[in-house]
């Protein structure tokens, strides 16, 4: 019965939640005309059939049915199914000083006449270290050092190529430091402050989602938002990830440079989008969109997957510009 009733819920829209534990059925009933003057056993019954499981906070299924008259003709008034649930919606990654992780990225190099046509793509590795917590203005920030290489085995020796200052309360990147070399000599880094924070799926930025995530936020319209350097039409959509999608995308990451990290906790699917505003008159379906599609997990400090995709509204083209996977995590020196 449970299998059949839940399968009915898959027919329209998203797949409904399946239980992993015992299922209890509850019949709540209300009878009318059941008084002493109704010897025939009642004129009608309203029944709510519900299925509850200890692994979910709400019933998996409910149907409200009226049974009318002596023949008890059945009339279904409503049916409902649980389609998603989560605990502690306020998901944000947990960082501690000393945490580190390595990300491998498959990315398109900028076009160059010096490069053979087939040599546009390359693997790139980056190590991130939570070095300390510092103040920027009045705000505590994680100081995140980044070192890059073409090999996965990156140590923490040597100065960082870039440093991000990420606010501990809302995860906005409010300062960046970039290594500065002149004639092979290291000079003071370029320091840039972003009081409003860096957000949105912009190239050459960390593209951190708005933490804590607002999972299943019903407002999915683009919104014009003001950054320090520009205005942008942005939206962010997050939801529990489809396990099959996670499995497939991570398996694709195993193909070069060794296996990627698998999550043990809940996985969240985050789509951060920048809507092109070059032609304000474009119909909604024909806008250019830059999307950063990310997967984050409860048990890992950084996204386990990201792909940056450009959608060309007028020509319907889709181009994947970058894909990255988490390949190592740790605490303290590697």
């Amino acid at each position: 019965m449970v299998k059949r009733l839940l399968a009915d819920g898959d027919a329209v829209g998203e797949r409904v939640v399946r239980p992993t534990d015992v299922v209890y059925q509850v019949h709540e009933e209300m009878g009318s005309g059941l008084g002493p003057d109704s010897p025939h056993g009642g004129k009608s019954i309203t029944q709510s059939l519900q299925l509850w499981s200890p692994d979910q906070p709400w019933r998996l299924y409910e149907e409200v049915v009226n049974y009318y008259g002596l023949g008890f003709k059945r009339h279904v008034l409503q049916r409902s199914w649980l389609v998603a649930s989560g605990r502690g919606e306020r998901y944000a990654p947990k960082w501690h000083v000393g945490d580190w992780w390595v990300v491998k990225t498959w990315q398109q190099r900028p076009p160059s006449g010096l490069r053979p046509a087939g040599d546009l793509w390359r693997w790139d590795y980056r190590r991130y270290d939570v070095a300390r917590i510092d103040k920027v203005g009045r705000n505590d920030c994680y100081v995140l050092e980044i070192r890059g290489d073409e090999r996965p085995n990156i140590g923490r020796d040597g100065a960082a190529g870039a440093v991000l200052y990420v606010r501990t309360d809302n995860w906005l990147v409010v300062r960046t430091e970039e290594a500065n070399f002149y004639s092979g000599k290291r000079l003071s880094p370029y320091v840039r402050d972003y009081p409003r924070g860096l957000f949105g799926p912009f190239i050459s930025e960390p593209r951190l989602p708005g933490f804590p995530l607002h999972i299943m936020n019903p407002d999915t319209a683009f919104k014009k938002e003001r950054r320090d350097d520009c205005y942008a039409n942005l939206r962010e959509i997050s939801r529990p990830a489809d396990p099959e999608l996670v499995k497939r995308l991570l398996a694709e990451g195993d193909t070069a440079g060794g296996p990627v990290i698998r999550p043990k906790g809940a996985v969240y699917d985050v789509r951060s989008e920048l809507g092109g505003d070059y032609d304000p008159g474009s119909p909604t379906g024909r806008r250019d969109i830059t999307q950063s599609h990310q997967l984050w997990s409860d048990d890992l400090p950084w996204r386990i997957y990201e792909e940056r995709v450009g959608y060309n509204g007028w020509y319907g083209g889709r181009s994947v510009e970058e894909r990255s996977w988490l390949v190592a995590v740790g605490q303290g020196e590697k």
């Binding site: 449970v2 299922v23 299925l51 709400w58 409503q78």
Partner: protein, 187 residues
């Protein structure tokens, strides 16, 4: 008749195994072995502040009701109502075409017995949010529609079929003949 288990066809909510025996001890042992749910009869959902879920609902469409709707629930906090701790359960429609920003229903669900003792409707009227409160100290129980949640009486008395007759019960707004039966579902 000798001790044993007889499968009988009863209505769907009646356990499928009916135990007959002369010895009370044997009967209890058999019941525990055959109906494991009896051992965990005190089921209640476990909620924590921050829990959320989404429910999709089909209902008979009308001029003011859509056929398919989605509702997001969130356990927003715990507050005292009538001197009792209550879960504050906020329900918001997910369809931006049918629901104005700020529209919501807030259910105050007693943490000890899961009765909904207060319901606050918040709606947008003429550009302003207005709230209407239904105060129901006896609790909103029974399979009523119209904004009610039809929560069962927790903890469930799973497999208890000692009294399955309708009983006249008094709510704050009416009296109704009600009954509730629960069992382990056929998967």
């Amino acid at each position: 008749m000798s001790s044993g288990v007889t499968r009988v066809a009863l209505s769907p909510w009646v356990p499928r195994y009916f135990v007959r025996c002369k010895s009370r001890t044997v009967l209890l042992a058999l019941a525990a072995a055959l109906v494991p749910s009896l051992a965990i009869a005190q089921y209640t959902p476990k909620w924590q502040v921050g829990d959320w879920w989404i429910v999709k609902t089909w209902q008979i469409p009308s001029s003011c009701v859509q056929e398919w709707t989605r509702t997001r629930y969130e356990v927003a906090g715990i507050e005292k109502v009538h001197h009792r701790d209550c879960f504050v359960l906020v329900a918001q429609g997910q369809d931006p075409m049918a629901v104005s920003e700020g529209d919501k229903m807030t259910y105050y669900v007693r943490a000890d017995n899961w009765l909904v003792v207060m319901l606050v409707f918040t709606r947008m009227y003429d550009g302003k949010l207005r709230s209407d409160t239904l105060d129901r100290p006896r609790g909103m129980f029974g399979p009523f529609r119209g904004g009610e949640q039809r929560l069962p009486r927790f903890p469930l008395r799973v497999g208890n079929f000692s009294d399955t007759t309708f009983r006249l019960e008094h709510r704050d707004d009416c009296a109704a003949y009600l009954r509730e039966m629960s069992g382990v579902a056929d998967t």
